[in-house]
Structures are given as structure tokens and as C-alpha cells.
């Protein structure tokens, strides 16, 4: 099964499960009114972020989207800090000054979720240029949604990455909806972002984003090509989100039972569990033990986030400049 031994499979499962439970819990807690602002949940899309980021280490950078919690966790951002950040607390990853849409941890190569659709791809061209120029061996990955795939920043970046032969990947997470608008309509070529890659002279690969193994394999090839100087790739993960564009979205644009059907037939965690247990590499008890561990972590994250202090008054004025 690719280069995934038992330990790596358990790691992949733990990452996906952590993302899922993090998001399910944020969904519940947001409804209580205790979480300020608004949040965009990644539940349902875990195989994409995890399958891509499993290939990365701290040399590598990613830029994320509105829907960034999953990418953060997959890139190794500490979960308790993230939860505290979503609550706006001083113990948060960004000390409560960023919030859900701006969680970043540059030491981990996580360049930020982004409040601007399509904000990430130009930044990732720069990150890739830096890695190439400084010969760090690192690569850079821009995640965009189907909505972000239509931004001019994305098109410009696809072109720039090609002509500069940058070590980067553009991962389009096509979940079918840009906010409430179908990607089958808003993305030309009947919603197939992959087909645009040819126009930029780069490989374009479409995978089933519910299937961790498909994502892992396709991302691995693209990342290896980028690391070896072979230039950029566009990887499109076709997948679904389990919740609305944001929490509170009534999702009247979705057919009834769409999410229920996907959860029953295409859930990435269920598909993963079935595959690894039927292959006999992993016992159900191993996965259940991870479930317990993850639930405990998420529970502690929420309890600690709620109890954590707000930033002090003077924090309003700090961190604007390095020096001024």
C-alpha cells in the first residue's frame, strides 16, 4: 500500500480524525454563541489536507483558505492553540488577534488560512521561489477552493509558477459550492478545474478527494516532481463539505439528504477504516484507541480555551510593526 507502513497509516488516521472531531466540536460550540465571529468548517474534506500534508515537513510551506482548520492540523499546528485562537484567547496560536480565518504558524510552514479568496497562490509562488533560491529542498503548496480557482490571482500564479519553474503545487479542493453557487456552473469546463492546467503547460490531476489513498498517491507524485525541479502541478480534489459555507448557513441551495448520503457512502474516515482493517494492516482496536485519544484532546482543547484569558488591553497596540 504505497509507502505507508502501519505507523504512517495510524498517523494519517489520527490527523483526519483530529480534524473531524475538531470541526464537529466547533460546530456544536459555535451554536452556543460562545465562539465569536464566523467559522468555515472542513469536516468531510479531511482526506485532502491530510493526504497532501503527509508528504511535507517543516521545510515546506502551505497557504490555506477560509476553510483552513484542517490544513493547519495536517501541517502540524498545535490543536489546543488553534481552539484557543478560535475563541479569541491570549493562549491562541495568534494570541487571539487572528481568529479562525487567520490561523498561521510560520515555524511549521503554515502561512495562514486566508480571509481573501485566492489570496494564497501568489504568496506560495514567493515561498517556492525562496526555497528554490535558498536551496532548502522545500516546496510550497497553495490550497484553494473551487471559488478561489476562479480568482485572477490563481490564474496569474499558475502562469508565474510555470515560467519560473517553481517547486509548488496548486491543490484545488472542489467541494461543489463557492458559498452557495455551484462549481459546475462557476468553474468553466463544467466544473473541471483540472483541465485548466493544460492551458498553463503543467500537469493536471483529478482525484477523488474522499479517498485518502488516491490523494496521497497523486500528491506524492506531484510533490516529488516539484522537489526534483520538475515544476508545478495542479491537483484537483473532488470532495464535499459536511456543513455550510459558514456556520449558520441554512444550505437551502443543497438537495435534501445530500450530506446524509455522502456521510453514509463516501465518508473519508469510514472508507479509510474499512480499507486498512480489511487489508489486515491495522486492527479496529488501534483505530478506536486513536478515537479515544482524539476525543480527549478535543475536550481538553475546548475546556482550556474557554478558561483561557483574553488578550490584555495593551495587545490592541502591539505586533503591528517589528519596529516603528
Amino acid at each position: 500500500m504505497l509507502d505507508l507502513n502501519r505507523e504512517r497509516l495510524l498517523q494519517a488516521y489520527e490527523t483526519m480524525k483530529t480534524i473531524r472531531e475538531f470541526e464537529e466540536r466547533v460546530h456544536i460550540e459555535f451554536a452556543t454563541g460562545e465562539i465569536p465571529g464566523f467559522v468555515h468548517l472542513y469536516a468531510g474534506e479531511e482526506a485532502s489536507g491530510t493526504g497532501v500534508c503527509m508528504h511535507l515537513d517543516d521545510r515546506d510551506s502551505i497557504a490555506s483558505t477560509h476553510r483552513g482548520h484542517g490544513h493547519c492540523i495536517a501541517k502540524g499546528v498545535e490543536v489546543k492553540g488553534m481552539m484557543a485562537e478560535i475563541y479569541g484567547k491570549d493562549t491562541g496560536t495568534c494570541r487571539g488577534k487572528g481568529g479562525s480565518m487567520h490561523i498561521a504558524d510560520l515555524d511549521k510552514g503554515m502561512m495562514g488560512a486566508n480571509g481573501i479568496v485566492g489570496g494564497g497562490p501568489p504568496l506560495i509562488c514567493g515561498a517556492a521561489l525562496a526555497k528554490k533560491t535558498l536551496k532548502t529542498g522545500g516546496i510550497a503548496i497553495a490550497f484553494v477552493g473551487d471559488g478561489g480557482s476562479n480568482q485572477g490571482t490563481t490564474f496569474e500564479s499558475l502562469n508565474l509558477a510555470t515560467i519560473w519553474n517553481l517547486p509548488c503545487i496548486f491543490v484545488v479542493e472542489n467541494n461543489g459550492y463557492a458559498e452557495s453557487t455551484s462549481s459546475k456552473w462557476s468553474v468553466s469546463l463544467s466544473g473541471n478545474a483540472t483541465d485548466r492546467a493544460a492551458g498553463f503547460g503543467m500537469p493536471g490531476v483529478e482525484v477523488d478527494g474522499h479517498d485518502f489513498f488516491a490523494v496521497y498517491e497523486a500528491a506524492g507524485e506531484a510533490i516529488e516532481r516539484a522537489r526534483n525541479g520538475g515544476g508545478p502541478t495542479l491537483l484537483e480534489c473532488k470532495l464535499n463539505r459536511y456543513y455550510g459555507h459558514f456556520e449558520g448557513d441554512a444550505q437551502t441551495y443543497r438537495p435534501q439528504d445530500e450530506v446524509k448520503n455522502i456521510r453514509e457512502t463516501k465518508d473519508c474516515l469510514e472508507l479509510f477504516r474499512k480499507k486498512v482493517t480489511s487489508d489486515g494492516i491495522v486492527d479496529v482496536s488501534d483505530l478506536n484507541a486513536i478515537d479515544q485519544k482524539v476525543m480527549k484532546l478535543i475536550e481538553e482543547s475546548v475546556v482550556e480555551a474557554k478558561a483561557a484569558p483574553n488578550p490584555a488591553e495593551q495587545e490592541l497596540l502591539t505586533d503591528v510593526y517589528v519596529s516603528y
Binding site: 506560495i124 508565474l160 505586533d319 517589528v322
Partner: protein, 336 residues
């Protein structure tokens, strides 16, 4: 005797010396080498006005031509700055900020704050400003107040070759994003220019001329108009103190306030627009902080609230000139 050199030479020399000093400094922009992938000279243009000429020949791939994709390459400069490089990106004309502003004001400017103080983005965006080139409404604006408005950005507007070199070196060494504004009518201006590298700290105004009667705060090319006015008025016994802030963010508020405390009169000369511009900003500063020092109403000398016209007669009317500065000073001095 100090060496004389142009504003253009000052910029070129600052870039060359910083690239020599620090291998993480790279340059990118449209035609900054000029000639990439052509059959002619590979260092053909050195930017549209030749400011970066010769740097590609000397530094090779560290001087990167870009496609006409400002969002992508300004964003790339910003992303690279968070990953260990010190990019100097050239936004050919400040007017083109419209096609890449998101990367500057929503990304670069906010990283440090949004990420809880853990980001450094040492990027410089060099850009050409100003009217007088008969370049019409989309290549002539003085939009630096828009950048000045954004927390997280620093903004330099040098008025002479010495400041251009010192401020650009400071911009490159600085760990915050800097918008470096070069007035296109100043490139040929000559002035004293030391050959060795030196830097000028941000937020320190330069006193161009000292005087007790009127403070004139002037920015960028307008320092020339203020200086000429100061010379003319001195013949009538009116002594102007001319303060050149050199950077609009940070702004040396103390120097402006101290000068007004001494003179009691203030004229602000700026080529950016009258609404929400530097003149309005500095007038507000003095009115709120030093009202009791004022002996007369503050005067502002700015272009009108219009686009920059193409016709030379109209464009000359648009740009504040020496005569308007003299008139503004006389307006507030005659009462005493």
C-alpha cells in the same frame, strides 16, 4: 567636495550595494532587467526608466523579470519575504496598485498582527509616483496616502538623491514591509551623494531650511517648490522653516509640532490629493495637538480633487507650484 549624482543613480547604487552586502536581496518586476528570453540585450531596459540598469549583468538571476502580473509577483515578493528572502519588487507605477492591492494591504501589512507578532515580512515595493510627465490620469498619481493609511506598512517619499539612497538602504534592511515612492520628475535631480552605503532612519524629518516665521511641511517633489518659495520669501524678510518628513509612515510628528510651536504658522505642500491626503492629515495633527500655538489658520497647497489631466497647460495648473506656496505663506503672514 562631496560627489554629485542623480536621484536615479542613488536608487541604483543603493540596490547594488545592498545586493552585494546581502545575498538574500533579490529584485523582481516588469522589465527590471528587460530582455528576458529575447534575442537582444539581456539587460536591455533596467526598468522603464533605466533605474535598475546593470544589475542583471552583475547579479544574474537575482534580478528577475516578471510577466505583467502584478498580483502574482507582488504577492510572490511578499511570500518570499516570509520565507527568508529580502525581495525588492518594482511596481512600475503606483497607479497599478489597483491590480495588486490585496496582496499589499490585506496580506503583507497584516501578517504580523494577525499572526500574533510571529511574522516578519521584509519586502520593499519600489514604485513611481507623481505628475509632470504628461503621462495622464493612470500614470501620474501620488497615491501614497492610501498606503500611509494602512497599519503595518511603512512609506518613504524621498525628495533628493541623498535621502533616496539612505532611505532605500534602510527600507531593504528594515524588517517591515515598505512602500518606497520615487517621483518620476526627480530622477534627473542632482545632489550630494556619498559613495559608501548609509541608511537614514524612518520617522526622522529633515529640516531643509530653518526660520522663525512660517513652517512649511513639504513632501517629495514639493520640497523643491517649498525651497524656491523659501528663497523668494527670504528676500522680503519672511523666514520659512521647511520640514521634509521623508517618510509618511512613520511620520515625525514631533518635528512638525516643535516647528509650529516656534513659528505659529503652518503651510503644508503636498502633491497627493486634498481629501484624506497628507495635507489634511498633518493639518489635523497640528489643529488637534498644537491649536494654541497657531497665530493664523493652517494653509494647504495641494492639487484639486480631480484626476491628473493630460494636457500640459492643465497638468501644470494641477501641480502645486512655487507661486502658490509663496501666496499661501503671504496669506498667513500679512496679518502680523
Amino acid at each position: 567636495m562631496a560627489r554629485r549624482a542623480t536621484f536615479q543613480k542613488a536608487i541604483n547604487e543603493a540596490l547594488e550595494q545592498e545586493m552585494e552586502r546581502d545575498s538574500s536581496v533579490i529584485i523582481m518586476g516588469e522589465d527590471v532587467a528587460g530582455g528576458t528570453y529575447t534575442e537582444g540585450d539581456s539587460d536591455a531596459w533596467g526598468g522603464p526608466l533605466g533605474v535598475t540598469q546593470g544589475l542583471y549583468t552583475k547579479f544574474g538571476d537575482r534580478v528577475m523579470d516578471t510577466p505583467i502580473s502584478e498580483s502574482a509577483f507582488i504577492g510572490a515578493a511578499i511570500g518570499a519575504a516570509t520565507c527568508g528572502l529580502r525581495p525588492v519588487a518594482e511596481l512600475m507605477f503606483i497607479d497599478f496598485m489597483g491590480v495588486c492591492f490585496d496582496q499589499i494591504f490585506n496580506q503583507a501589512a497584516k501578517f504580523r498582527y494577525m499572526f500574533g507578532g510571529k511574522a516578519e515580512t521584509p519586502v520593499v515595493i519600489r514604485t513611481m509616483i507623481g505628475a509632470g510627465f504628461r503621462a495622464a490620469a493612470q500614470h501620474s498619481q501620488g497615491l501614497y496616502p492610501i498606503f500611509t493609511h494602512i497599519p503595518g506598512l511603512k512609506v518613504a517619499v524621498p525628495s533628493n538623491p541623498y535621502d533616496a539612497k539612505g532611505l532605500l538602504i534602510q527600507s531593504i534592511r528594515d524588517n517591515d514591509p515598505v512602500i518606497f515612492c520615487e517621483h518620476k520628475m526627480l530622477y534627473d535631480m542632482e545632489g550630494d551623494l556619498p559613495e559608501e552605503p548609509f541608511s537614514i532612519p524612518f520617522g526622522e524629518a529633515n529640516f531643509i531650511r530653518e526660520g522663525d516665521d512660517v513652517t512649511i511641511v513639504a513632501i517629495g517633489r514639493m520640497v523643491q517648490m517649498a525651497s524656491e518659495a523659501g528663497d523668494a520669501l527670504a528676500q522680503d524678510g519672511i523666514q520659512c522653516e521647511i520640514v521634509d518628513p521623508r517618510t509618511t509612515s512613520p511620520l515625525d510628528e514631533d518635528s512638525i509640532l516643535e516647528s509650529v510651536e516656534k513659528t505659529g504658522r503652518l503651510v503644508i505642500v503636498d502633491e497627493s490629493g486634498p481629501r484624506c491626503g497628507m495635507a489634511a492629515d498633518i493639518a489635523s495633527l497640528v489643529a488637534t495637538q498644537a491649536f494654541d500655538d497657531l497665530k493664523a489658520p493652517i494653509q494647504t497647497v495641494t492639487p484639486p480633487h480631480t484626476p491628473v489631466p493630460f494636457n500640459d497647460f492643465l497638468e501644470d495648473l494641477y501641480i502645486p507650484d512655487t507661486e502658490r506656496v509663496v501666496k499661501a505663506v503671504r496669506n498667513i503672514v500679512k496679518g502680523n
